[in-house]
Structures are given as C-alpha cells and as structure tokens.
Amino acid sequence: MTRTILSIILAPLLAAAVGLLFMGISRKIMARIHWRYGPPLLQPVIDIIRLLTQRGFSHGGMFDLGLVLSLAGAVTVVLFIPFGGWCALCGSGGLLVILYLMLLMPLGIALSGGAGGNPNTSIGISRKLILALGYEVPFLFIVLAVMDHYGTISLARVVELQRESGWALFSWPLCVPGAAYLLILPAVMGTRPFDMAGAPQEISSGPMVEYAGQYLALAHLQHAFAIFVALAMFVNMFLGGAPEPVTFILKMLVVFTGGVLVHASFPRFRVEQAIGYLWRWPTALAFLGLVATVASR
C-alpha cells in the first residue's frame, strides 16, 4: 500500500525530470547540428524556475482550469505506464485507460486557449486538435494490434511477455505496427515536421501565446510529460520495456535522438499536409499490421 502511494508520488516527478532532461538534450543536439554550442543541459529547468517566479496574467477561470486539466491528464497518464520495472497503477485498465487519458492533454490546452480571447490561440487550437485527430487513427490501430497479439490490455503484461519472446519491433507481425509508430512519433511528440500547433513564426506560438509566468511553466511541464508519454509507450510496447529504469531511459534516449535528428532536418508541414501524410502510409501500415496480427493468431 505504501509502496503504491510512494510510486504514485514519485512517478510523475521522475517523468517530469526525464522529460525536462530530454528537452535539454534535444536543444543541445540541435545546437551541435547547427555547428554551435548550445544552452546548458538543464536550460529547460532554468526556464521553468524563472517562469515560476514571474507573475502571470489570468484571463478567467476557464483559462486556469483548462491548463490544470491538461497537466492533470498528463500526470495521470504517467501513472499507468511502466517505467522500467516500477509501475504505479498497472493493475487496472492499462492500454485502454491510456488511450482515453492521452486525449486530455490537447483538450485541456484547447479549453484554456479558447478562453484566452486571442485569435492566434483559436488557429493554434484548431491545428492542434486536427493533428490529434490525424495521429489518433494510426495510433488506435497500433494499440489494437499490440493488444490482440499479446492477448492483454495490461501494459505491464506486454512488457513481461516481450522479455520471453524478444522485442516486438523485430518480430513478425508486430514489426509492421512498430514501423507505423516510428512514422507517427514526431506527430505524437509535437516536434518538426508536425510542430505547426505551436509555431512561433506563423501564429505567435499558437495556444501558448497568452501564457505568461506560471502558466507558461505549467505548459512547459505538460510538454515534457507529453514527450515522456510518447517515448515510454513506444519503448514499452515495442522495445520490451526494461527491468530497471536506467536501461529504460537509455532506450528512450535512443529513440528520442532519432526524433531530434528528424526535428533538425525537416521544415514544418501545413496541417492539411500533415493529415494527408498521417492518414495515408502510417494508417495503411498500422492497418496492415492489425490484419497481419489477427491473421497470424
């Protein structure tokens, strides 16, 4: 009982720490790709500390509550994802609950931005939600394939089964949904070429244009959680999880570096190009993977 409570308290803190570290690593890697030094590795932490000491402006109750809802959704999702042998609430729900709760993150930002009163937020919110619609379809097929192949909705059980039968990414038939997940990973994380929701140059940072001070700190934290969730899901479903957290973080880091290299090389898509891409090859691959999984049962 105490172990559960302790892991419930520690899991979001660890996820935030890992997410912020990865954000710092991404800025450093991008800087080195640009042939320059970058900010220190803990720059996102410094940013958040600075933002927490600033006094932001509120635009009403929904503005505050929407952001809190988004952050709450992010924190709750983290509780259901096994983190290298530790898992806070793995006994209940599993992949279905994660699928539900993952949508709270863009929805909360949408609610809060809608109360902001800035036309840039409306454009950003529409882009964010359209993008969520885009990647949810292949994501659903992928999760269904994994659930069907291993015959369980518990993510911890999926990790256990992979320990015996090898990584799912390199085994038929789950290599096909795995490849599809790799194709939609930038969209789930919100990095280029799919970062049109929060584009500074086009729509003045989209939904985050009215966030000042402490609100922006929460929004950065929510972004850190979103990165963590996207990567942890991939590592758990296709790379066999890990028996202890250090290997887990290392696996996440490898996948994340691939994502950063894509982020550094690609320009930004328009939102209709993003939907056109996400509903074509990744959906086709994911659907074929689902069919292959059902056929090879």
């Binding site: 600075r50 932001g56 003045s204 244009v209």
Partner: protein
Amino acid sequence: MDRNQISKWLTAPGKMAHKYSLNAVYFCTGCGIIEIPPVITARWDAERFGVIPVATPRQGNLFMITGYVSVKTLKAIIRTYEQMPDPKYTVGFGSCPINGGMYWDSYNTAKHVDKYIPIDGWIAGCMPRPEAVFIGVTHLWTLIDKGMANGYERYRRNYAQYRRNQEMLFGDLGWPPRYPIEDGGSGGGK
C-alpha cells in the same frame, strides 16, 4: 544564519534563473534589428547565454529597443512593454534610444526613450557588434545580481510620471492606465 542570509539563500535560484533565461521579445524596432539575427543564429550563438527570441511579449522578459524609435513605434512599444510579466528588463541598443543618435533633430522620432519606458542599460554603437551585445548581456547579469536592474519597479512606482510623459507626447493614448494613479486623474482604473 540571520534572516537576511536565509532570504538571500531562498531568492538565489530565482535570481540565477532570471539571469540565465532571458527570453527576448522579438520586436524589431528600427534599423538596429539587423544585428540581432547574427546574434541569435549559429555564428555568434546567443542561446548558450540562455537568450532566445520569443514571438509574444507574454512569454518574454527582455525587451531590446534596437534602433531609432519613431513616434508610431513608441506607442506599440509601450503597449508591448505593459503586456510583459514582471520582472522584466529593457536594454537600449545603439545610440538612438539614448539621445536620438543620428536622428537627433528629426521631427518624428522620440529622442530619450527613457522618459516613456524605463531602461535598465544601454549598449553603445550604431549598431553594436554581436560581441558588444554579449558584453551588454553579461553586464545585465551583473546588474540583476546586485539588484540594480529594477526598471519594472521604477515603472510601477513612478507610473504617474511615465503616464504623464506618454500623454504629453501622444495626447489620448487609447488604453487605460496600467497601474492605478492615485491623484484621481484621467482614464479608468485597472
């Protein structure tokens, strides 16, 4: 440890974070903005100082007045400055915000920008080279350390005088006072 020591120790992370995370509002004032893209891109990398440009004043805490300030731009600068959250720092680039610079006798530029919004530091030059920009940033760090970069506090304290100066220049400003003015003067509250 006395109270002073403890309060210094508690506010040290905030001070450190304010120094090393300066988000500059990308407000391109005058001709001096041509020196900012070299500063923030790969050759003279400003991101290692923690200085990145942001698109919106709500997220920024450094306002760089680069170059001459025409009267039309000054109105936009005041609005943008008032939208930024406290604590915020303003740096005047070049010689034009100091005393008018090259446009000292022009009919349409504001000469001493310090009369309308508070400025924490100036960087001389026309335009300053990127190395001068970095020296200015490190000087701003020293000022933040000593607590002397208090432009935002001066704005709040002397807001009546700033507002009077702004109204002397523009006539009707079109927006209510940012902080309440105690003498019951013009404009609505907030």
